[in-house]
């Protein structure tokens, strides 16, 4: 495995095949890998199965672009505005298959795959119509006879994760909310790390307790500042709430015009960034106290 996995976004995303399952938006509303998603749209890689907890319009955009056949997720919409209109249209028109989950059941499905077991049990979902969907099995646990829901493993082909900083090797620091990032990275066959900054390996090793992804799982590292906008990235920029509200308005009746402006009309992330005039900068950085490891 090469030590330097850095590459450009277009090259990294081109490694994903049509028909792949892709887990993304794993830290909930935090650090959603929008830049990678927009590159999927540009390249038109389709027939995708998307996996995630909630996606905060990333899934809605991929659906709007006609790339998605199936979604296995807990919530698909726009957190600021409610509905994701592309998603709604696609489901109501019969063009999209949805496997309904809860946040915990997605988490357990990925955790099961990460542990190499076929399923994990939970007492969540009992009595819900989610548990009655065909992907789940309600069973009696063999030890105490409790009712449990068996959640089958999900091993995505790809997990796409946006982080604050990564070394060229793929070792990465991420902080703030992690959601189900760890489970997904360990469940997926391939991992694309997009990072606000690519840093020297010595920066990662200076604080190993903050290392959440290690190199043997990572296929490609792409440096892409502002790569999660309009979602926030701790230490870098805050949520652009207005953008989510404007997106809802702009996509209420269609998607193409929005995509022409924000995805097809820009040549990568730097040009995209030039279109945002709101100040999302972190005005008062909170810096952690020094951590000593010693030897």
């Amino acid at each position: 495995m090469p030590r330097d996995k850095t590459t450009g976004m277009a090259e990294a995303v081109s490694r994903m095949d049509a028909g792949s399952s892709v887990a993304a938006g794993l830290a909930l509303e935090h650090a959603v890998p929008f830049a990678a998603g927009h590159e999927l749209v540009r390249q038109g890689i389709d027939d995708l199965t998307l996996v995630g907890p909630i996606s905060d319009v990333l899934f809605d955009q991929l659906v709007g672009a006609g790339l998605v056949s199936r979604i296995r997720a807990a919530w698909i919409g726009n957190v600021s505005a409610g509905s994701g209109y592309n998603f709604r249209r696609a489901v109501e028109g019969g063009a999209l298959e949805v496997e309904n989950h809860s946040n915990l059941s997605v988490s357990l499905a990925l955790r099961a795959a990460s542990m190499g077991v076929p399923y994990l049990p939970t007492r969540s979902l009992l009595g819900s119509d989610i548990a009655a969907e065909p992907q789940f099995e309600v069973a009696e646990d063999p030890f105490e006879g409790q009712r449990v829901v068996q959640v089958p493993a999900i091993a995505p082909d790809w997990a796409v994760v946006h982080v604050q900083r990564a070394a060229p090797t793929g070792d990465a620091h991420l902080w703030g909310n992690a959601g189900i990032t760890y489970e997904a990275v360990r469940a997926a066959d391939h991992v694309l790390v997009t990072a606000e900054e690519v840093v020297d390996e010595s920066v990662i090793k200076s604080d190993p307790s903050r290392t959440r992804i290690t190199r043997e799982q990572v296929d490609a590292v792409v440096e892409v500042p502002f790569g999660a906008h309009p979602s926030p990235v701790a230490g870098h920029y805050d949520r652009d709430n207005e953008f989510f509200l404007e997106y809802a308005e702009a996509t209420r009746d269609g998607f193409d015009e929005w995509a022409d402006e924000w995805i097809h009309g820009v040549d990568g992330r730097e040009e995209y960034r030039g279109l945002i005039d709101r100040d999302l900068s972190v005005t008062e950085p909170t810096v952690a106290a020094e951590v000593r490891y010693g030897q």
């Binding site: 698909i76 946040n103 939970t122 007492r123 009992l126 992690a178 489970e183 926030p232």
Partner: protein
């Protein structure tokens, strides 16, 4: 004086805040509950703790406005920013006292639907569960917040996204659900309790006429008089302190206006 005028949503936040007891671990989620927790911890529940499915664990109000649980002010000086497996594990173990839920539809046993509803002969797809089903199944008790609109109250929800008391009685126990289920419903017109799994009117908000609430329900709504011989009360109005806090945490009325 602040309390001379308040919006229905500000009243909901104050009513929801009062459902959080001091020392509670609260699964807070989104929107109004987020503000309700901040009010509760600033007033009668200084020892309450909030947990969010994204991984945040917080013991005090955030120092800036929050659109979502993942906004940076909610991370800033949090107690911990962990991951979902950790927080959901606490919920599954029974360590979360109270959770908050919303819904597009609710039925007489507090079952909630946020997955798909019928509009005439059309089916409308909604975003789904998120963590709501997990909270509904496993929190010690749940408090439901909803806008008071007659179309939201149905005899039986179209899809059970988040189970309440199922068919009433000991349904939850029979299903094997670990949490206690819905304890209260707060709407823009009234508050409700649950007795034997069924919803009943507990208090009307100031200015809401007797009979006005019952007319919005497609079944014969029980009241606290029917279930425990207590007259239907008037919901307590937000105090000046509570209103000041709501407006500090939501200065532009984004959630509460």
């Amino acid at each position: 004086m602040a309390s001379e005028g308040y919006t229905p949503r500000e009243l909901m936040v104050s009513a929801a805040a009062r459902e959080i007891e001091d020392g509670d671990v609260a699964f807070v989620g989104m929107r109004l509950p987020l503000i309700a927790f901040q009010v509760a911890v600033s007033t009668h529940a200084p020892n309450a703790m909030s947990v969010f499915e994204s991984g945040v664990v917080r013991d005090d109000p955030a120092d800036g406005f929050l659109h979502t649980m993942c906004d940076l002010p909610n991370l800033n000086r949090a107690v911990s920013t962990t991951h979902m497996g950790d927080v959901m594990g606490r919920l599954a173990r029974g360590d979360v006292d109270v959770g908050f839920l919303g819904g597009a539809e609710i039925d007489r046993y507090g079952n909630l639907n946020t997955t798909r509803v019928r509009a005439g002969d059309r089916e409308v797809r909604l975003p789904g569960s998120g963590g709501a089903c997990d909270i509904a199944c496993m929190a010690g008790r749940t408090v439901i917040l909803m806008a008071h609109e007659p179309r939201r109250f149905v005899e039986r929800v179209e899809y059970v996204t988040s189970p309440g008391h199922g068919e009433g009685g000991d349904w939850r126990e029979r299903e094997g659900l670990p949490g206690g289920g819905p304890a209260a419903l707060v709407t823009t017109k009234a508050t409700f309790g649950f007795e034997d799994g069924e919803l009943h009117l507990r208090s009307r908000h100031p200015g809401v006429e007797a009979g006005e609430v019952a007319a919005d329900f497609p079944w014969e709504l029980r009241t606290s008089e029917d279930v425990c011989d207590e007259p239907v009360a008037t919901t307590g109005t937000p105090t000046d302190e509570e209103l000041d806090l709501v407006r500090e945490f939501d200065p532009d009325g984004f959630w509460t206006g």
